[in-house]
């Protein structure tokens, strides 16, 4: 009975799907249209440039009438149109979607390794000649060394992106000075002394609440944000991920070195004696933060620039709280350091399809790298980005109702940092934060693998995701596996592609060195 109906609807299905297909393909063909408006006949007319930037924080997207947009237009002749990830969608996926639907912005900040997809498939515009011409401030302010690293990240040696440059260390080991005072110990100088301090933190109730709830030191899931424990043994670590650095004369994955084994042995000891928070590998970011805020953690590793929020929370429970930077405790036979990655991460790139607008995109970018615009970039428009208190400009905290102001500069020098501390940290905390930076700067060292492009991992997702490392690290530390298992890890890592990746990294390093 039903058969003929199905037959008929099947035919309708086919027709309908054909329709949908033609609509879809129609859409993607339209993608080539906007180029025409770029070289507009009227030279006086401003050009609109679509800027994609993810992780924008709270605030509304500014429209064309926004004063910030207007000011930038006045100065550069470019109207910026900010595009960001749709709410609730994953930034990498969103970018992929833009590529797939032929709807790329005119200039974008790549994430999730997308820059390599663009470079490899001819989707990125070479900027070698355009930068000096249209963005002289960008070209000159970024050190030559950084441009070299960018060149090394592409197979043909061209510059395909403007790199992020961070000339000061961003991270630091920190310790509670008030806790040290309470237990009567100085800032530890060696790993043994550090352990003693942690023992005292555990047993002598430094937070004074009468409960043995102190977590002498803590980290996060996957072994993130406990880099200080690795750094003591000279392991290059970046948020819990082993980096590439020189070991025994050659660039190596820090995860398979003797240093790493020694560090894991030490961390395992700390864990066993409950000196390392036993829930370290289960701590989500917010849980870990709450533990620090609530005066439960004595020593940790994080961004001093974010200390303000931590410290403000601490003061509620401990009015005499004080945080200092901890110089890397010395481990016998090892050269400890704070890992610094300064350059090479991609910050801005221009898709080939937006070639006609490249001139304007770069002019816009240059505006932000021009030092004479510093004040505007930092403070923006009164009432939207800052307010004037006692004749001084004060940056407003971001809020849902206020428009976001575009910022494109990602070049941080020591001077930038000093200025930023002065402007974003309340006066009574400035010295504390500066001191923490000073301590970590003294210990910081740029690693050999700084700027390594992620193409070296191609075809080996498990090496890139550090999955194997994380599994062995966590299982050995929590005592489920013996330390000897680490040798098995080295073996498995090499076989799973580590060896091939190491070769690529060494080739890359030879290229950069010359």
């Amino acid at each position: 009975m039903m058969k003929p109906v199905f037959g008929k609807s099947a035919r309708i299905f086919v027709l309908a799907s054909l329709l949908v297909v033609s609509i879809l393909s129609g859409c993607s063909n339209n993608g080539e249209k906007p180029a025409a408006s770029a070289d507009g006949t009227d030279k006086n007319e401003s050009v609109t440039v679509k800027v994609f930037k993810s992780h924008m924080g709270v605030g509304t997207i500014p429209d064309n009438d926004n004063e910030h947009v207007k000011y930038v237009e006045e100065k550069t002749g470019v109207v910026y149109e900010l595009v960001t990830t749709a709410p609730g969608s994953e930034p990498t996926e969103f970018l992929n979607l833009m590529i797939a639907s032929d709807d790329l912005p005119d200039i974008l900040r790549p994430i999730g390794g997308i820059e390599q997809t663009l470079i490899k498939q001819g989707g990125a515009l070479a900027l070698d000649d355009l930068l000096p011409k249209y963005a002289p401030n960008v070209w000159e302010n970024i050190p030559e060394e950084a441009w070299d690293i960018v060149r090394s990240a592409s197979p043909d040696g061209h510059i395909y992106y403007v790199p992020k440059v961070f000339l000061v260390p961003e991270r630091a080991p920190m310790i509670r000075q008030d806790w040290l005072d309470k237990v009567g110990l100085p800032v530890p100088k060696t790993t043994e002394e550090y352990k003693e301090v942690l023992l005292a933190f555990r047993d002598k109730d430094p937070n004074g609440n009468g409960k043995a709830d102190e977590l002498p030191t803590s980290g996060r899931e996957f072994g993130k944000w406990m880099d200080h424990l690795f750094g003591m043994y000279g392991v290059a670590m970046w948020e819990g991920v082993p980096e590439w650095d020189s070991y025994e004369g050659e660039i190596q994955y820090a995860g398979v070195t003797k240093n790493m084994k020694a560090a894991i042995a030490y961390i395992r000891e700390l864990y066993e004696e409950k000196l390392l928070d036993n829930e370290t590998f289960l701590n989500k970011g917010d849980v870990w933060q709450a533990k620090i805020n609530n005066n439960l953690v004595g020593s940790w590793y994080h961004l001093p620039a974010n200390l303000r929020d931590r410290y403000t929370a601490m003061l509620k429970g401990a009015p005499d709280a004080y945080v200092v930077g901890m110089p890397m405790p010395k481990a016998e036979g090892y050269e400890g350091f704070v890992t610094q990655k300064s350059m090479g991460e991609p910050e801005w790139m221009i898709p080939t399809v937006a070639k006609d607008k490249a001139e304007y995109s770069l002019k816009l970018l240059d505006f932000f790298y021009d030092q004479s615009n510093d004040e505007f970039i930092r403070f923006g428009i009164e009432g939207q980005q800052h307010e004037v208190v006692n004749g001084k400009k004060v940056v407003l905290p971001p809020e849902d109702s206020r428009p976001i102001a575009l910022g494109m500069r990602n070049l941080t020098t020591k001077e930038d940092m000093d200025v930023r501390i002065k402007e974003t940290i309340p006066e009574d905390m400035q010295k504390m934060v500066q001191d923490v930076f000073a301590v970590s700067s003294a210990d910081a060292r740029r690693i050999a693998g700084d700027g390594l492009p992620n193409t070296v991992y191609e075809g080996f997702p498990d090496i890139q995701s550090h999955k194997l490392f994380q599994e062995y690290l966590t299982k050995i530390v929590i005592g489920e596996w013996p330390l000897e298992k680490f040798d098995e890890f080295i073996d498995r890592w090499n076989k799973a592609g580590g060896e091939a990746v190491t070769k690529r990294v060494q080739e890359w390093y030879a290229k950069v060195k010359n």
């Binding site: 003929p4 799907s17 992929n96 498939q121 989707g123 599994e471 929590i478 076989k495």
Partner: protein, 322 residues
């Protein structure tokens, strides 16, 4: 519709040729009469077309070296290279085994749960209590796994409820989330907690459709509630259960990324790393669309094979899906 007649096999007696046009007309009349029903089904049809049937065409990239800039039409063909890559992946069998094990647990423990709950709901006499409870059971379905994962981590943490209760009895604190022997149990239980209420909806509808006279007759014969459940409610629900079971088996290897990803830690990789989490690492992090599509295709083929087998078995006793 002349050619429609040509398509009929010679000697076919099912639809006499002379009556065919008349039949067709009757359907047109029928459609016109119940056009509202047809309109109502339209969104569903469009949904399946756009989100299920159209993307099927995208499966061809499993046989390509897909380049996002070139698109499907101009990417080069590589045959089975992507499949070879998967099957030679060192941990593939581990990942497959984990997936199959968890899937089996979910089927054995997770599938009957809503049936039992629906039967229990059915026994609640007080309408208000039933409604309130149903709503409460539906709620977790609307939470995302990020939230539920957070709740699970919190409940099982050293300060969590479970360890607090253990503490009362003098037991030591166990960090459940980092012990691999608890992982699958946690996955299954949290999965049931989240979706059991939602799953009862169809069964409750099936129960509501049972003819009350059957129960009346059973009461006359002296059957108590338990006997009624066993001999009337369950057997009449059986076709519904079977259909849902078959639909379930078709997605056997597709556990869903969200749940596992939000519960997984490096310490439970050896039992919890599943196809979806691998696809995430290879696909999202490395942009290997072709490989991950190949994996998806593999999952679907397995699902289809299982579905086919179970459907055949089902047809022997009851009716299957087709």
């Amino acid at each position: 519709m002349a050619n429609a007649q040509d398509h009929l096999e010679p000697g076919s007696t099912r639809i006499p040729i002379g009556r065919f046009n008349l039949m067709e007309n009757r359907y047109l009349v029928n459609m016109r009469k119940y056009w509202m029903l047809y309109v109502m089904i339209l969104p569903g049809i469009i949904y399946y077309l756009v989100f299920k049937y159209l993307p099927l065409a995208g499966s061809v990239i499993a046989f390509q070296d897909y380049q996002i800039f070139k698109g499907m039409l101009s990417s080069s063909w590589v045959g089975f290279a992507n499949f070879k890559f998967i099957f030679t992946y060192e941990d593939f069998y581990l990942v497959l085994r984990n997936t199959a094990t968890i899937a089996l647990y979910q089927l054995v423990f997770g599938f009957p749960a809503p049936i039992i709950l629906a039967l229990l709901f059915n026994e609640v006499r007080l309408m208000l209590a039933k409604r309130v409870m149903q709503s409460l059971f539906y709620l977790p379905h609307f939470l995302s796994w990020v939230v539920v994962g957070g709740i699970v981590f919190e409940l099982l943490s050293s300060q969590g409820v479970i360890n607090m209760v253990r503490g009362w009895f003098g037991h030591e604190t166990i960090l459940f989330m980092q012990e691999q022997q608890y992982f699958r149990t946690i996955v299954v239980i949290s999965g049931i907690w989240k979706d059991v209420g939602w799953g009862t909806i169809i069964y409750l509808a099936a129960i509501a459709g049972i003819n009350p006279s059957l129960y009346e007759a059973a009461v006359m014969d002296g059957a108590n509630r338990w006997k009624q459940t066993i001999h009337i409610t369950l057997p009449t629900m059986f076709p519904t259960i079977l259909v849902l079971f078959l639909l379930n088996i078709g997605n056997f290897l597709e556990l869903g990324f969200d749940q596992i990803y939000n519960l997984l830690t490096p310490m439970t990789y050896s039992v919890g790393d599943i196809i979806e989490t691998y696809v995430y690492r290879a696909g999202v992090l490395q942009g290997q669309y072709s490989v991950t599509t190949a994996i998806g295709l593999f999952q679907s083929v397995i699902g289809f094979m299982l579905l086919w087998i179970f459907n055949r078995m089902a047809r022997k006793t009851e009716q299957g899906l087709w």
